[in-house]
C-alpha cells in the first residue's frame, strides 16, 4: 500500500503508453534529422535497409500480428514492387522513375488480392505453405520470363540524376514517409471494428464467424493492407539498389528478415516491428561485413528465429511492457476473484430494446425458427438424422435429450459452425441454410457455446465489441475501442453484471464469468433468436437463478430463446414448448407437462424415477 503511493510520479513516468510515445517521438525526430547531421554513407545505407524491413514488418503485423496468419510471402511483395518499377523504368527510359512507385503499390495489392482468393480458403498450416509456394513460384516466373524480367541476369535501373551530395536523401525520406503511412494504417486498423474482427479471427475463427464477422472479406482486406505499401517500399528499394535480380529480390531470406523483425519487436504491437527491423537489419549487415556473410547470415537468422520462438515468443516490447506493468501494479490484489455485479436493468439499454406487448401477440405464435429434416453424418455415425423442430416467435423453447443425441450438433448446424448434409433451416420466413455463419448472425441468430469460447487474448470489453451486427464497409472502419460501440458494450456488461471486469483478459475469468460475458457478446448482435448451449451447466446455483432471471427479462423484451440444458428443473420451469431429441431426431414435442408424462421420453431420457418436485421448481423461479 505504502509502496504504491510513495512515488506516484515515478509510476506515471513508467506508464508504458507515455514512455513508449516519448521514445517513439524522439526516435522519429532523430530519424528525420540524421541525414542532415551526418553524411556517413555506411549508416545511411543501414538505415535505408532497416526502413525497408520496418515497412515490410509493419505491414506483416496486420495479417500475422492481428489476424494470426503466418505469411512468408512478405519478401515477395518487396520483390514485386521492385520488379514493377524495374520493368517499367527499363521500358520507359524517359519517364521519371518516381512516377512508377504508386504502380508498384497497385501491383502488390492486386497480387495480394489474387493470392488471397486461394490462400484464404485454407486455414492455419496450409496458409503458410501457400505463401512459401507463392514466393518460389514468383521467383521461377521471374527467372523464366526473360523477355520482361531479364531472367537471371536481372535488370539495371537508371542511375539517379540528382545532386550527389544528397544522393540518398530521396530514398531515405520517401521510405520514412511510406513507413509513417504504413504505421498510420496499422494503427487505424487496430482501433476499428475490422481490427477487433481480425484479432477475433486469430483467437477463434469459427467463433468469430458466429459473431457476424465476415471471414473472407476481413482476412482479404488485412492481406491487402499488409502488402500495398510494402510494394511501394519495394519499388523505392529496387530503385535504390539500381540492380535487381530474381535471386536477390525474391530471396526467401527477405521474408524471413521481415518475419524476424516482427517477432523480435512484438508481433501484436504497433512499434515492435519497427524496433525489430532496426535490431535485425544492423545485425544482418554486421554478419555480412564482419563475419563472412553467407553461411553466418543463415546461422544468425535461423538461430535467432529458433531462440525467439523458444524463449521470447511475445517479443521485446511486450516483455518490457509486462515488466513495467508488474512494477506498477505490484502488491495490488487482482480483480478476477471479485464478486460479480448485481446487474443492471434492461431499461437502461435505452433505444436498443423495447417491451413487447404480449396482449397483442397473435396466437398461435408464428414460427421464428423452423428446422426441417436436418441431417449430418460423421463418417457412418448419423449425429443428426432428420431432426425437425419449430421455435415460436417470442417463446423460450427447450431442447433436451440424452448425451450424444445430437443437441449441440444441431446447434452447430443451425449456425453453420459445421455444415449440414441436408435439410432446411428457416429463420423469420427466410431460408438460411445456404447462408454463411456471419450472414446468419446478421439475420438475427446469436449463439453461446457449451464450453465457452471467448477470445482469450482479448479483454472483456473487446470481446463484446468484437460482435458485428451487420456487414458494411462503413461499419468495418468504425472505431471499436471507444465511442458509441464501446458504450453499448459497457451497458450490456453492466446488465450481465460484468462491467467491473471490462479490462480483464478473458482467459483470466472463471467459467461462470465467461458464460455471462458470452451472453453479453451475443446480445451485442441484437439477435432475434438466441441459442443457449447449457447456460446452467457448470455454474453455481445463485448464478443459475440469475441466468434464468435474465432469460425471462430478455424474453419479455422480445428475444426468443432456444435452450439446450440437462438441468431439468431449469428447463421445465423456464421453457415452453420443449423438444426432445434422441438418436439425432425429434422424438417428442410439447409443453413441459406433456413431456414429463410422455412414456417414450421417460423411457429414453428422464428415467422411471423422474419426479419434478415442487422445491426444484421454486429454486428456478
Amino acid at each position: 500500500m505504502s509502496a504504491a503511493e510513495s512515488a506516484p510520479e515515478a509510476r506515471r513516468a513508467l506508464d508504458p503508453i507515455w514512455l513508449g510515445r516519448g521514445i517513439a517521438l524522439v526516435a522519429g525526430v532523430l530519424l528525420v534529422l540524421y541525414p542532415m547531421l551526418s553524411d556517413n554513407l555506411y549508416y545511411q545505407n543501414m538505415i535505408i535497409l532497416s526502413l525497408v524491413f520496418a515497412i515490410a514488418a509493419s505491414g506483416l503485423s496486420i495479417i500475422t500480428g492481428l489476424a494470426g496468419y503466418v505469411s512468408l510471402s512478405q519478401g515477395a511483395f518487396v520483390g514485386l514492387g521492385g520488379y514493377t518499377v524495374g520493368v517499367l523504368a527499363t521500358h520507359h527510359p524517359d519517364t521519371n522513375v518516381w512516377l512508377w512507385m504508386p504502380v508498384a503499390g497497385v501491383t502488390a495489392g492486386l497480387v495480394a488480392l489474387i493470392l488471397g482468393f486461394v490462400a484464404m480458403r485454407a486455414s492455419g498450416p496450409s496458409f503458410v505453405i501457400i505463401t512459401v509456394a507463392f514466393l518460389f513460384l514468383v521467383q521461377v516466373i521471374a527467372i523464366n520470363w526473360r523477355s520482361v524480367s531479364g531472367g537471371t541476369e536481372g535488370l539495371s535501373l537508371p542511375i539517379p540524376t540528382w545532386d550527389a551530395d544528397i544522393a540518398n536523401w530521396p530514398f531515405y525520406y520517401s521510405l520514412v514517409g511510406i513507413l509513417a503511412l504504413q504505421l498510420l494504417l496499422t494503427w487505424w486498423i487496430r482501433r476499428t471494428k475490422l481490427g477487433t474482427g481480425l484479432v477475433a479471427i486469430r483467437d477463434d475463427e469459427t467463433k468469430a464467424a458466429t459473431l457476424g464477422i465476415n471471414l473472407p472479406v476481413e482476412k482479404m482486406i488485412a492481406f491487402i493492407a499488409s502488402s500495398v505499401l510494402v510494394g511501394v517500399g519495394g519499388g523505392v528499394y529496387g530503385y535504390y539498389l539500381t540492380f535487381i535480380d530474381p535471386r536477390g529480390m525474391f530471396n526467401i531470406l527477405l521474408s524471413v528478415e521481415a518475419m524476424l523483425a516482427l517477432l523480435v519487436g512484438g508481433k501484436a504491437t504497433l512499434w515492435g516491428p519497427v524496433l525489430g527491423a532496426f535490431i535485425v537489419e544492423p545485425l544482418n549487415e554486421y554478419a555480412n561485413n564482419n563475419l563472412g556473410g553467407g553461411n553466418t547470415r543463415l546461422l544468425l537468422f535461423g538461430g535467432l528465429l529458433v531462440l525467439i520462438v523458444l524463449f521470447l515468443p511475445q517479443g521485446v516490447l511486450p516483455a518490457i511492457e509486462s515488466l513495467l506493468n508488474w512494477v506498477r501494479t505490484r502488491g495490488r490484489a487482482g480483480l478476477v476473484g471479485a464478486r460479480i455485479g448485481t446487474g443492471g436493468s434492461l431499461a437502461s439499454l435505452t433505444g436498443r430494446l423495447s417491451l413487447v406487448d404480449r396482449a397483442a401477440a397473435v396466437d398461435p405464435r408464428p414460427p421464428l425458427l423452423e428446422v426441417k429434416d436436418l441431417r449430418k453424418a460423421f463418417g457412418g455415425l448419423k449425429a443428426v438424422d432428420g431432426a425437425s423442430l419449430v421455435v415460436p416467435e417470442g417463446s423460450i423453447t427447450g431442447l433436451i435429450g440424452p448425451n450424444g443425441s445430437g443437441k449441440t450438433t444441431l446447434f452447430n448446424l443451425i449456425d453453420d459452425t459445421i455444415h449440414a448434409d441436408g435439410g432446411e433451416i428457416w429463420l423469420a420466413g427466410e431460408r438460411i441454410d445456404r447462408l454463411s455463419p456471419w450472414t446468419r448472425a446478421h439475420r438475427g441468430l446469436g449463439r453461446t457455446f457449451q464450453i465457452t469460447r471467448l477470445f482469450r487474448e482479448m479483454t472483456v470489453l473487446e470481446n463484446v465489441v468484437a460482435a458485428q451486427r451487420s456487414f458494411s464497409w462503413g461499419q468495418l472502419g468504425r472505431i471499436a475501442v471507444s465511442g458509441s460501440e464501446a458504450r453499448a458494450a459497457e451497458e450490456l456488461l453492466e446488465y450481465v453484471g460484468m462491467r467491473s471486469f471490462r479490462d480483464q483478459k478473458a482467459r483470466a475469468l472463471s467459467f461462470g464469468q465467461q458464460k455471462l460475458v458470452e451472453l453479453a457478446q451475443v446480445l451485442m448482435l441484437d439477435p432475434k433468436l438466441i441459442l443457449l448451449d447449457e447456460p446452467a451447466g457448470g455454474i453455481n446455483p445463485v448464478l443459475i437463478d440469475r441466468m434464468s432471471g435474465m432469460i425471462r427479462e430478455l424474453n419479455s423484451y422480445g428475444k426468443t430463446f432456444l435452450i439446450v440444458e440437462h438441468n431439468m428443473p431449469f428447463v421445465l420451469g423456464l421453457c415452453d414448448p420443449v423438444h426432445v431429441l434422441a438418436r439425432g431426431h425429434t422424438m417428442a414435442s410439447g409443453t413441459p407437462d406433456q413431456i414429463q408424462k410422455d412414456p417414450a421420453v421417460v423411457d429414453a431420457y428422464l428415467g422411471d424415477d423422474f419426479v419434478l418436485e415442487d422445491e426444484h421448481e421454486r429454486t428456478v423461479r
Binding site: G68, S126, A133, F136, N295, L299, G302, L304, F378
Partner: protein
C-alpha cells in the same frame, strides 16, 4: 512411345523416393501437428553424410544409408527433446517458424562444413544402365528407387505391425487418453520425430547418388515435399505415397515434354490448384473440429 515408357518408369522410381521422404513429413504432422519445414534440410544433410561415408570409408553410398539413417534418426530424436517439445502446446505457427529457423541453421552448418559448391556422389555404376529392349534405365536410379521402396516398406511394417506403431497411432488420435493407457506420449513423439527425419535422411542418401546437391537445395525439396503432402492430405500416409507417385510423374513429364526450367514450377502450381479445389487433399478427410477437446 519408348521415350514415354522410359520417362514413366523413371518417374515412378523417383516417385518411390519422394514417397519415402514425404511419409516422414506427413507422419510427423499426423502425430504431433508439426509441419517440419526443416525436412528438406535434413534430406540434404543425409546426402552430405552419405557423401562423407562414401568419400572417407569407400563404402557404397546406397549401403552407406545404413550408417546415415541412424545418425539422422538420433539428431531428430535430440531435436524433438530439446527444441520441439518445449513448445508442443504453442500454436502451429510457432513450430513452423521454429523448424524454419532450424532449416536455415542446418543450411548454414552444411555450408560451413562441406562448402557451398555443388557436390555429387559417384559410385562406380553411376554411368551404367540396364537395357530392356530400347528402354534405358540407369542403374543408380533403379537401385535407388528399389532401396527407397524397401525402406518405406520397413517403415510401414513398424507402423502397422509393432506395438510402437499402435502406440504411435494412439498418440496421434488422442494424446491424453494414450497417456492414460500407459503410453509415454513424449517418448513416442520423440521416436516419431526421429523416424520421420530418418526417412528424410535415407531419401537424401539415395537422391545424393542421383543428383548433385548444395546446402541451398533444401528449398526445392521442402517445396516439393509440402506439395506432395498437401496433395495427399496432411497427415495421411497412404495419401502421401499416392501423391508422391503422381507428383514424380507430373514433374518428369513436364521436364521431358515442356521444359526442365518449368518443372521446378510444378510443385508450386500443384499446391495452388489443390488448395483451391480440394483443400483437404486427395485422401485427407475434413476433421470434425466442433467436438470438445478441452
Amino acid at each position: 512411345m519408348t521415350e514415354f515408357v522410359q520417362a514413366l518408369v523413371l518417374s515412378l522410381l523417383v516417385g518411390g523416393i519422394y514417397a519415402l521422404v514425404a511419409s516422414g513429413l506427413t507422419l510427423i504432422f499426423g502425430v504431433m501437428r508439426v509441419i517440419n519445414i526443416a525436412h528438406g534440410a535434413f534430406l540434404i544433410l543425409g546426402a552430405f553424410i552419405t557423401y562423407t561415408v562414401w568419400d572417407q570409408l569407400g563404402l557404397d553410398p546406397l549401403v552407406g544409408v545404413v550408417i546415415t539413417t541412424p545418425i539422422v534418426f538420433a539428431l531428430g530424436w535430440l531435436i524433438y527433446r530439446l527444441l520441439v517439445r518445449p513448445i508442443r502446446h504453442a500454436p502451429m505457427s510457432s513450430t513452423v517458424l521454429l523448424t524454419f529457423g532450424l532449416a536455415l541453421v542446418t543450411e548454414g552448418v552444411m555450408g560451413l562444413v562441406w562448402g557451398n559448391e555443388s557436390t555429387s556422389i559417384r559410385p562406380s555404376y553411376v554411368d551404367q544402365s540396364f537395357h530392356l529392349g530400347q528402354v534405358f534405365l540407369p542403374k543408380a536410379q533403379v537401385y535407388g528407387g528399389l532401396l527407397a521402396v524397401v525402406v518405406l516398406g520397413c517403415l510401414w511394417l513398424i507402423l502397422t505391425k509393432t506395438w510402437l506403431g499402435r502406440a504411435i497411432r494412439a498418440a496421434a488420435a488422442n494424446p491424453a487418453s494414450a497417456e492414460l493407457v500407459g503410453i509415454k506420449v513424449t517418448s513416442v513423439a520423440a521416436l516419431v520425430f526421429g523416424l520421420g527425419l530418418a526417412a528424410a535422411g535415407a531419401g537424401g542418401g539415395i537422391t545424393g547418388v542421383l543428383y548433385p546437391f548444395v546446402p541451398g537445395s533444401h528449398y526445392l525439396w521442402i517445396a516439393r515435399l509440402l506439395a506432395i503432402v498437401v496433395l495427399g492430405g496432411l497427415g495421411s500416409l497412404e495419401g502421401a505415397v499416392l501423391s508422391a507417385l503422381v507428383f514424380g510423374v507430373a514433374e518428369t513429364m513436364t521436364a521431358v515434354y515442356i521444359s526442365p526450367a518449368w518443372a521446378t514450377a510444378v510443385p508450386y502450381a500443384i499446391v495452388f490448384v489443390v488448395l483451391l479445389f480440394r483443400p483437404q487433399g486427395l485422401l485427407g478427410t475434413r476433421l470434425r473440429d466442433d467436438a470438445v477437446t478441452a
